[in-house]
């Protein structure tokens, strides 16, 4: 394999197919990841509540999201619940006014990490030709008979995406923590 040729091919492919990778592919990849995390989080929140409730039947259903949300809620100091209940606040009022607003701080960073993981996992969706980054590799490969070049190109994009998002999440997490231990 000739690295000079690969380099030249990548330049040519970039000129011709940049929109497929950067617009279509990245768009689908990010949307897929976002939908997965959002649906998982909403389902997870419901199940997390069920698991903490006294009703048995649905407790066996578990996923990474229920654990993220459940542990986020449980990480809020029990004293907060006791203070709220001692003021006569109901369980529901305590949850919505006191516990959940504080639990969000524990939950969001973990969900962000999950989002970054899912970005990489969405490459599996190319099996169904869904339109994500890996699908674009298949498209370009089909049109040009080049394999390694489009792969290198999406590898760079995957890396850039996860690297930038990890850094952003770090900043976000530090901002959330700033208000802690009041």
């Amino acid at each position: 394999m000739n690295f000079a040729t690969i380099g030249q091919n990548i330049v040519k492919l970039t000129a011709k197919y940049w929109d497929k990778f950067l617009l279509t592919g990245m768009g689908y990849t990010l949307s897929l990841a976002a939908i997965t995390v959002a649906v998982g989080a909403i389902l997870g929140a419901l199940i997390a509540f069920m698991r903490m409730s006294k009703i048995a039947p649905l407790r066996w259903i578990a996923s990474i999201y229920t654990e993220i949300i459940r542990s986020g809620i449980l990480a809020v100091d029990i004293g907060q619940t006791e203070a709220a209940r001692s003021l006569g606040m109901s369980h529901r009022l305590t949850m919505t006014q006191i516990i959940l607003p504080q639990a969000i701080k524990n939950i969001l960073p973990a969900l962000g990490n999950e989002f970054i993981m899912i970005i990489k996992d969405t490459s599996l969706a190319s099996t169904f030709f869904i339109g994500d980054l890996m699908t674009q590799v298949l498209v370009v490969k089909g049109a040009t008979y080049l394999t390694i070049e489009p792969l290198i190109m999406v590898a760079v994009i995957y890396f850039a995406l996860t690297f930038v998002l990890t850094k952003l999440l770090g900043v976000f997490e530090r901002r959330l923590r700033r208000g802690d231990v009041r």
Binding site: D77, G79, Q80, E82, A83, A84, R85, S86, L87, G88, M89, S90, L93, Q97, I98, P101, Q102, G179, D180, V181, R182
Partner: protein, 255 residues
């Protein structure tokens, strides 16, 4: 249910066991708390005094025994009307102050104090704000109304916790070691607020290690050890003429 006018809380044979019967945090405590009492509960750590206090508003669910608060047995699942007993209604009448303050960190001091009056009692935000500011003024913290708890010292936090409970206009105030988590120089400011409250006639149950406060402010002293109420009496009787050997031993260590 008919009760004598003066009795606010009647505790009968209260037991709290953990692990079956292997740990007896409370082992048959009976006591009447009357209106206007400043009842100070003392005793060594692990004596069950905090468990006793936390049982009064059912933060701890007793294993057996009864707690009759303002004529209602709140340990029953059903109220006198046959409907499910709503403990929240009774808790509104029992203010509680915790060792670790437990202020809500995401809310301002004013919001900490008005949340329950507005959401639970249905007071208007305007009235609740007015009342909260007046209460804050009484503990010298009116200028901190819009601060967040993190911006306050420990002593200030505990004073806020006290007026947050008072904002619900409770009939009794429960204090669970309110000065134990404070730096020594801040203990005084909190005890002063409690003393003032006692002088105004508030019924109080105080679990504390502050023997000076117990002696000076307490109207009745309870001595607990091993989950039992071993001696009860006036401050003079307890501190100057202790009868129970456990109490004599305890006092020799703490005084």
């Amino acid at each position: 249910m008919a009760t004598s006018d003066n009795k606010l809380i009647q505790v009968k044979d209260l037991k709290k066991y953990y692990n079956g019967e292997s740990i007896k945090a409370l082992d048959g405590v009976s006591v009447d708390i009357n209106k206007g009492d400043v009842m100070v509960v003392i005793g060594p750590s692990g004596s069950g005094k905090s468990t006793f206090l936390r049982s009064l508003n059912l933060l701890e669910e007793p294993t057996s025994g009864t707690i009759i608060f303002e004529g209602t047995d709140i340990t029953q699942k059903k109220g006198p009307d046959g409907k499910k007993l709503n403990i929240d209604l009774h808790r509104q009448k029992m203010g509680m102050v915790f060792q670790h303050f437990n202020l809500f960190p995401h809310k301002t001091i004013l919001q900490n104090m008005t949340l329950a009056p507005v959401k639970v009692k249905g007071m208007s935000q305007e009235d609740a704000d007015k009342k909260a500011l007046e209460l804050l003024g009484r503990v010298g913290l009116a200028d901190r109304a819009n601060a967040y708890p993190i911006q306050l010292s420990g002593g200030q936090k505990q004073r806020v916790a006290i007026v947050r409970a008072l904002a619900m206009e409770p009939d009794v105030m429960l204090f669970d070691e309110p000065t134990s988590a404070l730096d020594p120089e801040m203990v005084g400011e909190v005890l002063d607020v409690m003393k003032k409250l006692a002088q105004e006639g508030m019924t109080m149950v105080v679990v504390t290690h502050e023997m000076g406060f117990a002696r000076e402010v307490g109207s009745r002293i309870l001595f607990m050890a091993d989950g039992k109420l071993l001696e009860e009496g006036s401050p003079d009787a307890i501190f100057n003429h202790p009868q129970n050997p456990r109490l004599q031993d305890f006092l020799s260590k703490v005084l």
